[in-house]
Symmetry: C2
Subunit: 235 residues, 2 copies
């Protein structure tokens, strides 16, 4: 290993930065993390990130942007390999990683919706996406069997956020989707996933979308941070 110690720049509630943290933890990489506040873009950061987006991984003088690119890099440089060996299998994994980004976008829309109608519409879109996912996967317990892969790291932040919502049974994203339900439970129990967010993540998550006027925060398990924490850790 000749590369210097990598530095991850992210927001504490950024699901894309969290993907990189999960991979760094899976590989036991010695790294530092610099947190910005959501929307904060100091000049030194804009100089690193031409798209102005987190996460960025700084490796010596090189800044790597986009979470999927960061994770590909980490996987190539630090063992164990989390991508499968065959090119076609790897392509299938990469495609589902892109799919996870679309699910995160649905989720952001859900959490940001300013009224009940918007929330239900966004939830319906996410539900259709989850139906495609349920049909396309066969987890056991992870995406590709017993071995944790980059696809797992890509989906875990989406499931962790869905887990925070205490939705009525008819809106429960896991009901009637047994494969996803099994998968998200396995991910929630994984050390690298549990340790991929700050202690007060649920509260920060709620505050962020509450400050944007999102009605979905009413489904966060009350204003009681302990309850949120319990729900997250014991799904």
């Amino acid at each position: 290993m000749t590369d210097p110690r990598p530095e991850l720049v992210s927001y504490r509630i950024c699901p894309f930065g969290q993907r990189a943290v999960i991979v760094l933890r899976e590989k036991g990489v010695d790294f530092t993390i610099t947190h910005l506040e959501p929307g904060e873009r100091p000049d030194w950061f804009l100089a690193l990130s031409p798209l102005g987006k987190v996460p960025v991984l700084r490796v010596g003088d090189t800044a790597i942007f986009e979470s999927s690119v960061i994770n590909e890099y980490l996987d190539e440089v630090y063992p164990p390999r989390l991508h499968p060996a065959g090119p076609l299998d790897r392509a299938r994994h990469r495609a589902w990683i892109e799919f996870a980004a679309a699910l995160l976008a649905d989720q952001f829309a859900m959490m940001s919706a300013p009224d009940e109608g918007g929330f239900r519409e966004a939830l319906q879109k996410a539900a259709a996406r989850l139906d495609s996912l349920e049909q396309g996967i066969d987890p056991g317990p992870y995406f590709d069997g017993a071995a944790f892969s980059l696809v797992d790291a890509a989906f875990a932040p989406a499931f962790m956020r869905l887990d925070l919502l205490a939705l009525p049974a008819e809106l429960d994203p896991y009901r009637a989707r047994p494969k996803i339900d099994r998968w998200r439970r396995a991910l929630a129990a994984r050390d690298s996933v549990r340790d991929s967010v700050v202690e007060d993540f649920p509260e920060r998550f709620g505050r962020f979308f509450g400050s944007k006027g999102g009605v979905a925060v009413r489904f966060l398990a009350g204003a009681d941070g302990d309850a949120l924490q319990r729900r997250r850790i014991n799904p």
Copy 2:
């Protein structure tokens, strides 16, 4: 090569599908292409593409979606390698490929803007993006020197579309951006790029955005298809 002949499914004017065509041509791959009309999503296609988006590459029973994933696959399976050998260099290339996707989104917004104000706003956003690009690159003549890379395949469709617009000098995206200007000329002259679209691409491009009510079509070099064609081929 044990994999069966790949089939690309795309729209004739899709810049993301075009990225894959460029790579297939660079590598001299024997492939078939199936064109859908924009917005057309037959059931067989939705069964392949869980995001409902083109392009999709079908390889035997496996469907690979997302252009960057398709091109990674093609690069791993068919020589010559268009990605650099070092992981950090490769990460830098991948990050700029993501950047190109953002530029294409700007361009779509430019072409779709229903009024002059919206067009100028979108153009300004694209111009800021091009400024970041001009600062971040050092082409000679391609992105990474003399060798054509996947980054070149990712940007070529964006430049080809910008090349179709005859903008007044003060809006010219290449003026005062000499590095991008040199790069896009080298790309426009490359066989794989020239042969990556159908013969009547400029007319199809104009018709598509014209039917969406985009005011930018007035900057397409007249309604004269020959003029468009000349401008494309002799930039």
